[in-house]
Amino acid sequence: MKITALLVLKCNPDGSDPVVLATAMDVSHFGYFQRSSVKEFILFVARTVGKRTPPGQRQSVQHEEYKVHSYNRNGLCVMGFMDDHYPVRSSFSLLNQVLDEYQKNFGESWRTAQADNMQPWPYLNEALNKYQDPAEADKLLKIQRELDETKIILHKTIDSVLARGEKLDSLVEKSSDLSAASQMFYKQAKKTNQCCTIL
């Protein structure tokens, strides 16, 4: 359940290579010597997929053990490299969020970008870190998870309530026995009191 990279590209509708606007990559789990080549590889795949995503469409491409999710909206394309276990929906909602944030921060200035922009955008980096857990990105997933936990808790509660019921039953029996015994006791005491007044 890992996000390896998040990228924002500008995709031209005429099919030329997209221009990279922002990237955030987490290649810590590759060996030290492989990291730069992995970064290049990610950029290349991103450019290819971005070129082939028509505007207004979402796409998911399977590549070896990664899934590349891309969402192109009005020429601004945001892509995420995730592994197979990451749920598709949360990835698209994450891409939506990143897209909105990017447009809020940079407005329309990206439309004129021609060269790759390699300046780090801190929001993207912290998004990469924060959203490693898909539940963070996708509110639906979070709600579902909390509801499931609540359901488990409720099941346990019901079990304990049933045990309480059993104990209450045994208590009721014991208390009725006690009340019968005390009644016998009372009658006995009254009887001994009645008969031996003379003696």
């Binding site: 209450l168 006791f185 005491a189 007044t197």
Partner: protein
């Protein structure tokens, strides 16, 4: 004459009669000489135009008849759809075929009207009124056929909805895939039906006042571009529908998964509500048990207190009885002393 353009259960021999009359006229005119040949030509051209008109009208009537037959078949198919074994493909094919027929018939009727308007110079008013009546009749029949088509389509959508609801009653998760394609296609189909029905009223709305007016040339010019506009519009819509049909399945999976997740959440909340209700029932039942225990304990305490009181009294009576016994002993000893005194 209008009867001729209706469903032909009898043979149409007017054409033969007219060809025979022409031949006779030819022989007569060949006898008369070339002076009347031009008049015969005129008459022949008038006759050919007239027969052309009639031929077209009969063809259109036949086409309308076939279309209404296909429509009846479609209505039967749409009525008998069950939850399983849905003849969807046939229904869709039939729908497409009927739509094509209706559009073709529509254009044919407009052509017919043009033809009838184009040869209106120098012919008797009876022929004019006859041709306009024929054209109006054909238009009316086409309109009724289109209305039936629309009704059949709405019935089909309702049937589909009923099936979907029934399917969801019995199987909770299975049918979400099948629901969406229908929901996607229905708007396209009804939109196309609405397009065809919206395009067919305009020629009538424009056509009938034009036929009643006495300026056929002007209306010719108007109805021609109108026809072209309709064709262009229909083509555009068809193209758009095709494009939308392709793009919609791609967005569908994303939207579908979102819809599915939402439904899961909703069902989970529902179950939670259920569990809470059960919890409340259990707790209220146990509350009653607790009250019973409380009453039992109260009874026990009352009993024990009573017993304690009795025992205390007993104790008191026992301890006080000693005094009485001493007094009785004293009385006895007194009696003994007296008895001893008497004896000794």
């Amino acid at each position: 004459m209008p009867v001729k353009a209706a469903q032909t259960s009898f043979r149409d021999r007017t054409f033969e009669f007219q060809s025979v009359a022409e031949r006779l006229r030819k022989t007569v005119s060949s006898q008369n000489g070339p002076s009347s040949s031009s008049k015969a030509d005129e008459q022949r051209s008038a006759v050919t135009l007239q027969s052309e008109f009639n031929r077209r009208a009969s063809k259109i009537g036949l086409g309308i008849h076939h279309t209404s037959q296909k429509l009846a078949k479609l209505a039967k198919l749409a009525k008998r759809t069950s939850v399983f074994d849905d003849p969807t493909m046939e229904i869709q094919e039939l729908t497409a075929v009927i739509k094509q027929d209706i559009t073709a018939l529509n254009s044919a009727v407009v052509d017919l009207q043009l033809v009838s308007n184009s040869r209106n110079d120098g012919i008797s008013s009876d022929t004019t009124s006859h041709s306009t009546t024929v054209v109006d009749d054909l238009k009316n029949r086409l309109m009724s056929a289109t209305k039936e088509f629309k009704e059949v389509l709405t019935m089909r959508t309702e049937n589909l909805k009923v099936h979907e609801s029934r399917r969801q009653l019995f199987s909770s998760t299975a049918s979400k895939d099948s629901a969406n394609p229908f929901v996607r296609q229905r708007p396209l189909a009804t939109r196309s039906a609405a397009a065809s029905t919206s395009s067919s009223p305009p020629p009538w709305a424009n056509g009938s006042p034009s036929s009643s007016q006495l300026f056929p040339r002007k209306q010719d010019g108007e109805s021609q571009p109108l026809l072209q506009q309709q064709q262009h519009h229909q083509q555009q819509q068809h193209h758009q529908q095709q494009q939308q049909q392709q793009m919609v399945p791609l967005q569908d999976s994303y939207m579908q998964s979102r819809a599915e997740a939402l439904q899961n959440v909703e069902s989970t909340i529902h179950e939670l509500g259920n569990i809470f209700n059960q919890l409340a029932t259990l707790v209220s039942q146990q509350g009653e048990i607790a009250i019973r225990i409380d009453e039992n304990m109260d009874d026990t305490m009352a009993n024990v207190e009573g017993a304690q009181g009795a025992l205390l009294k007993y104790l008191n009576s026992i301890s006080s009885n000693r005094w009485l016994m001493i007094k009785i002993f004293f009385v006895l000893i007194f009696f003994l002393m007296i008895f001893l005194f008497f004896v000794a």
